[in-house]
């Protein structure tokens, strides 16, 4: 690539060698070689300056492109793990975390509680006030619950009007307190949505991990689901612990 530049340098070096050998000074030959070298040097300097400047710009473009990719990655990650309506974690993230927590509980036989939460008579809200209000209810309820969640807990939207709370390192009595606190918090004050004041109640199913019963993650989740269903049957707006009779 630098052949032309190399040729000029070679010629100048050859001239020096010849001159040493012959001790014969030819001023003209020296002068023309010197001029050629200077020209070449000036041209090389000009090129290097351009290359440096253009190279820097090129590098800056690459960095900008890299930053853009990183930004998009962050955005994609957010989209992948958060529910776009309620802004709490989505089912994908919930199931991922649940898998990890279940494996941990199984391995160390450590405490783990699941609380499945379902809004009562949500269909009626949609029918009476419209879907936009229904959406706003989901958003408000999930945000109110989210405020009660500890750092180590995972809370997210499990399905339509169903939410799941995963509580690692907690015994059943404490998990029941959390569930009751959430239940009363949701039902205590009506939600102000537009001109409407809507009272919402929730039914909760609590299951405590048992290494003998919960042979796989589906069984454990199903117990929370059954407890929640039991709460519905018993008249809603209550919490049922799986395996505990009223």
């Amino acid at each position: 690539m630098f052949k032309a530049e190399q040729n000029v340098l070679n010629e100048a070096q050859l001239l020096i060698e010849q001159d040493r050998a012959s001790a014969n000074e030819s001023v003209d030959a020296w002068r023309s070689a010197y001029i050629a070298l200077c020209d070449q040097f000036a041209s090389l300097l000009r090129d290097s300056m351009k290359l440096t400047a253009a190279g820097d710009l090129s590098y800056r473009r690459l960095i900008k492109a890299k930053e853009e990719i990183e930004r998009l990655n962050r955005e994609n990650y957010h989209l992948a793990i958060f529910d776009s309506l309620t802004e709490v974690n989505n089912r994908y993230y919930l199931m991922d975390q649940y898998g990890k927590e279940f494996a941990k509980a199984l391995r160390h036989d450590s405490p783990l509680a699941l609380i499945l939460i379902d809004l009562d008579h949500f269909k009626q809200i949609n029918d009476e006030f419209g879907h936009q209000v229904g959406d706003e209810v989901l958003r408000s309820v999930s945000q109110r619950i989210k405020g009660q969640v500890r750092q180590q807990d995972t809370f997210g939207r499990y399905g339509g009007e169903e939410f799941l709370l995963i509580l690692p390192g907690i015994e059943v009595a404490d998990a029941a307190l959390v569930a009751e606190k959430i239940r009363t918090l949701v039902s205590a004050d009506p939600f102000a949505i537009g001109v409407h004041k809507i009272t919402i109640t929730i039914s909760l199913g609590l299951a405590q991990f048992s290494s003998t019963r919960d042979v796989n993650r589906d069984v454990f989740l199903l117990r929370a689901d059954q407890a929640m269903y039991e709460a519905k049957i018993r008249g809603r707006n209550q919490m049922v612990i799986d395996g505990v009779s009223p």
Partner: protein
Amino acid sequence: MEDLSIAKTKYTLAVSFSASRGLLEMEGSSYPENAFEFFTPIYEWIQQYVAEIQKPIALNLKFDYLNTSSLKCIIDLFKILESYVEQQGEVVVKWLYEPDDDDMLESGKEFAEDIRVPIIFCPTEEEKPSVD
């Protein structure tokens, strides 16, 4: 004289030189393993055109990314055009860049400096949907 056409790859430019129209177009990214090898037929074609055809040259360049070796090859390409201009040849270079790509514009201006070949900077038009 035959036209020169090189298909675009991930690492090399698309090249389309038309001898009859004097229109030379290069487009894409260039970071080949051996840039000089890639550019050699390009230099040869232009040198032949300059020697045989001796008509005006319109060179359109639209680059996405050039590695340092390719930058050096473009500088050498400009030198060939520069000597054609010195021999009274007519050359116009169009440096095309995306409207929001300030770095590519600046890069072109670096090239244009001290070069005795006219360079026009053109933001590429955004394609507008046709309306019936």
